[in-house]
Amino acid sequence: MSRFALSLFLLGALLLGTAWIVESREVVAPGATEKPALPEAPIAGYRAPDFTLTTLTGDTVRLSDYRGQPVVVNFWATWCPPCRAEIPHFQAASRRYNGRIIFLGVDDGEPVATVAPFAAKMGITYPIPLDTESAVSRLYRVNSLPSTFFIDASGVIRHVQFGLVTEAVLEENVQVLLADEGNAAGP
């Protein structure tokens, strides 16, 4: 290819490329960050599937009721050693970010009689919804425990952590949620 032809090609690429970028521009309504068509799926980047469960204390918890606030949903069970290891981090964070971030410890497939003494022994004060039939675990495609979903204020999953959440991992993801909080809009 000659120099002249390549120069023309360069100019053409600049013009066409710029035109294509302008054409592809997405006009976002002021204040809105979420597209209405965003689907529900238990994967980062998607809207967190909604669920309703009863907590250890008998209260009803519905995920969509927390829209407007970041939520950390941790799937766990009393028989799971890594779950037991990470509970103190969630407990400390729930106190530290009280009112700013909601922590939900969804117990997977265990009865109240098993979970209640364990929660008392561990000093858990954040809500523990009981997924006794594992329906929510299946909805979230939880294949291994623990699994943790970090959901921003607009209800979009920002990160999914399979396996142990260390204090550092928890903190870095919480910071991301808090940073997003200012930009996110509720439904």
């Binding site: 360069l10 294509w20 997405e26 976002v28 689907p39 980062a44 294949n143 204090e167 870095e172």
Partner: protein, 271 residues
Amino acid sequence: MLPVLDLGFAAVPTAGLIYILGAWLALSAVEKGAALLKQHVAATYTLAVLGLAAAFVGARAAFVASHWEAYRQQPLAIVWPLTAGFDIWAGLLLGALAAFFYGRARGLPPWRTLDALAPGLLVGLSTLSLADFLAGPGYGEAADLPWSISLFGVSRHPVQLYEIAFALLALGVWRLALIRGRDLPSRAGVPFLTAGAVYSAGRLFVDAFRDNAWLTQGGYHVVQIISLVMLLACLFFLLMRLESNAPALHAERRVDGAEGMPPEMPERRTG
């Protein structure tokens, strides 16, 4: 989508497996590229490994440094788990710097080394797209096309597959450019730059079909802007290469026309 491989006794995140496989494939592609270009294979391979390692360590270190308060209490968390917490831009910068200084120290010819690295980069980018396709957060715009994929009940553009298609096309272009000018020093850099231009143009085109694209404040696609800059840079350097090597190219063309065979002008081998 297949975010997790359920092996029965364990659930393995698919993306992590693909990244490991991708690194191995990319390094193998660099090795093959260097051999095809008659470059010093061991030195080029080492440069790629060093660049990759520096990028990985650098991305983690930069992230840890920027979130030091979180890691200070728990230093072991710096090295495990590694499923999240990387500063991609810092990693890219440090990886490129490590590769650059190693290449200089070993006296590797810059353009020919980039030519040898190109297939590895394209294979690596393809595996990133594949990981995103199987387990990542990216997805295309809703579209009812014969090749659309269904994601949670909605038919969508398989944008990551488009990206892979353009990477394969760029790989083909790289191979063609190599066949044409492998033994001609004046054409050093041409395979890398043409493949880079094709891939950048492809990403510029297909990112328009991504539904959850990374946007600027004004709603422009960031990947498209980066791709356009890369495309223009590739074309500009291609122009510069052709201009600076015009006399040699003319001589080669004359020889090509007269003899039907390129002259024997092997690149200096190092190491």
